[in-house]
Symmetry: C3
Subunit: 212 residues, 3 copies
C-alpha cells in the first residue's frame, strides 16, 4: 500500500502537470511539447533545488513523475471539453501539491545541513520555480511575478516551518502546520483577491508629472 504522503505527491504532480499541459495547448504545442511543459512544471522546482543542493534529482530515482505526467497528458487529450468545469478541483489538487512540495523542499534542505533561510528559499523554489520555467518555455512573462500570492504562500509556509521547528515542536506537527500555512495563505488570497503591491516604474512617474 502506498502511504498518504505518496498519494499527495501523485495528486500534486498530476495537478502541476495538468496546468503545464493546458497552457501548452493554448500555444498549440504538439503532444510531445505539451508533455515536456507538463513534466517541467511538475519537476522543475525540485530539480533546481536538487542541483543547488548537489543531490541527484529526485525524479531520476523513480519514474512515477514521468508516468503521472503521461496520465495527465492522456487526461487532457481525452477530457479537454470537461476541464473547465474541473477548475476548482484542480485548484485544490494544485494547492495540496504546492503545500507538499514546499514541506518536502524545506525538509530536504535542512537535512543537507543548511540554515532556515536557505530552506525557506528552497521550499519556495520547489513549489514555485516549476511554474516559472513553464512560463519561460511557453514564452510568457512568469505568472507568479504578477498575480496572486502564490510564491508568497510558499515563503509563509517556510517561515511557519522554521518557527515551529525552532520552538522544538514535533516534526510531523511542524510539517502539517507549514502545509496548512501554504494552503490557507493561497486560498484566502484567491478568495479575497489579495495581491502584493505592484512596483510603479519610472515611466509612470514621468507620465504622472507631465499630466500635472
Amino acid at each position: 500500500m502506498i502511504s498518504f504522503v505518496t498519494l499527495l505527491d501523485y495528486l500534486g504532480t498530476f495537478a502541476f502537470a495538468i496546468s503545464g499541459i493546458r497552457l501548452a495547448s493554448m500555444k498549440r504545442f504538439d503532444w510531445f511539447g505539451a508533455y515536456v511543459v507538463g513534466l517541467v512544471t511538475a519537476i522543475g522546482g525540485g530539480t533546481i533545488r536538487d542541483v543547488l543542493l548537489d543531490a541527484t534529482p529526485f525524479w531520476m530515482i523513480q519514474p512515477s513523475y514521468l508516468i503521472w505526467t503521461g496520465i495527465a497528458l492522456l487526461f487532457v487529450i481525452l477530457f479537454s471539453k470537461y476541464l473547465i468545469r474541473l477548475n476548482n478541483t484542480f485548484f485544490m489538487f494544485d494547492t495540496i501539491g504546492l503545500a507538499l512540495f514546499v514541506v518536502v523542499g524545506f525538509e530536504k534542505t535542512l537535512s543537507f545541513g543548511f540554515p532556515y533561510w536557505v530552506a525557506v528559499m528552497m521550499g519556495t523554489a520547489t513549489g514555485a520555480a516549476g511554474g516559472v520555467i513553464r512560463d519561460i518555455l511557453i514564452n510568457e512573462e512568469p505568472l507568479i511575478f504578477r498575480k496572486e500570492i502564490y510564491a508568497m504562500a510558499c515563503v509563509i509556509g517556510g517561515l511557519v516551518y522554521a518557527l515551529f521547528d525552532f520552538m522544538g515542536f514535533d516534526t510531523t506537527f511542524t510539517q502539517i502546520a507549514a502545509a496548512i500555512g501554504v494552503m490557507a495563505t493561497r486560498i484566502i488570497a484567491v478568495k479575497y483577491h489579495i495581491c502584493l503591491p505592484v512596483l510603479s516604474s519610472d515611466e509612470d512617474i514621468e507620465k504622472a508629472s507631465k499630466d500635472k
Copy 2:
C-alpha cells in the same frame, strides 16, 4: 589522427552552432550574442545532462566545442549569402550530430549507473535541449514543441538503444542501430511531413460549441 566519432562530433557541433548563429542573426544580435547562441545550441543539451548526472560539463575538459563554434561564426559572417543553398547539407550535418549526441548521452547516463528510462531522457535532452535554450535566448517559443518530429527521433533512438542493449547485442552494433533510428525517424518525418498531433485547447472547444 582523429577518430571517426570525433569527426562526427565536430560536424554535429558545427551544424548545431550554425543553426543557433543563423537564428541569432535574424534577431540582429551582434557577433558576441550570435557566438553565445551558437555555443549554447551546441553544448546546452550536454551541459544539462552533465549537471543532472553531477559530471563535469564535457566542454570544460577540452576546448574543441568553443573552437568549432568560432569557426561556425566566421563561416556565417563570410558566407552568409550562400547559406540558404547549403540548407540540405546543414540538415544532414545536423541530423548526424543529433544521432551522435543522443547515443553519447545515452551511453554516458548508463555508465553513471542509471536505468534505461533515465538514459532515454538524457539522450533526448543531449540532442534536443540545446535548441530549446537557443529559442529561449532569442525569445521565441521552442520550435521542437510545435514542428517536426525532432525530439521524438531522439526518444526513438534511445528506445532502440535500450532494446538492443537489453537483448545483449554488441555495444558498437547497438550504438549504430540507435543512431540509424534517430536519423531515419527524422529524415522520414521531414520528407513525408509527419507531425505529432497538436493539443486542442479549451478555447477552441468553446469556439466550436458556439459555432453550432
Copy 3:
C-alpha cells in the same frame, strides 16, 4: 570591520539588483516578482558558475546577497522618483560590480584546477549571465546580445588576468589589472558608443538583392 573587497561586493550586488528591479517594475511585476528578478540578476551568473564547477552556490553560504537585494527593493519603492537622476551613479556601481564579479569568477575557476580558457568563460558568465536570466524572466531578448560591449568587457578582463597570471605577476596586481581591464573597456565603449558588428541575416541579403 568589513574588508574593501566585501564593500565592493555589496556595491555590485546592490547595483545589479537595482537593474533587475527597475526592469521588473516596467513590466508591472509585484514586489515579490521584482525581488526575485533583482536577486537573480545579482546572483544568477555566480550560481551558473558554481553549478558548473560543482561548488555550493556562494549565496547559500551567507545571506548578504538576499539582504542587499531587499535593501535595493526598498530603495526602488521609496525613491523611484529620483532613480533616473542617479543613473550615472548606478552605472559606476554596476561597472565596479561587474569587474569584481569577473575577477572572483576567474579566480574561483582557477582554484578548481581548470585552465585559463575555462576561467575566461566562467568570469564572463559570473559577470554577464545574471543579466541574461533577468531578461529571460521579463520575457525580453537579452540586452547584452545586442547592445554595448558588456560581456566583451568581461572577456577582455579575463584575458588580462590570464596574461598577467601567465607572466608570473603578483596575484593582487593581476586582479587589479583585470578589474581595470573590465572597467576601462566598458566605460570607453559606452562613452564612444563602440558596438560589436551586427550579423546580417539571410533575409537582409535577399531583400538587398531584390532591391537591385
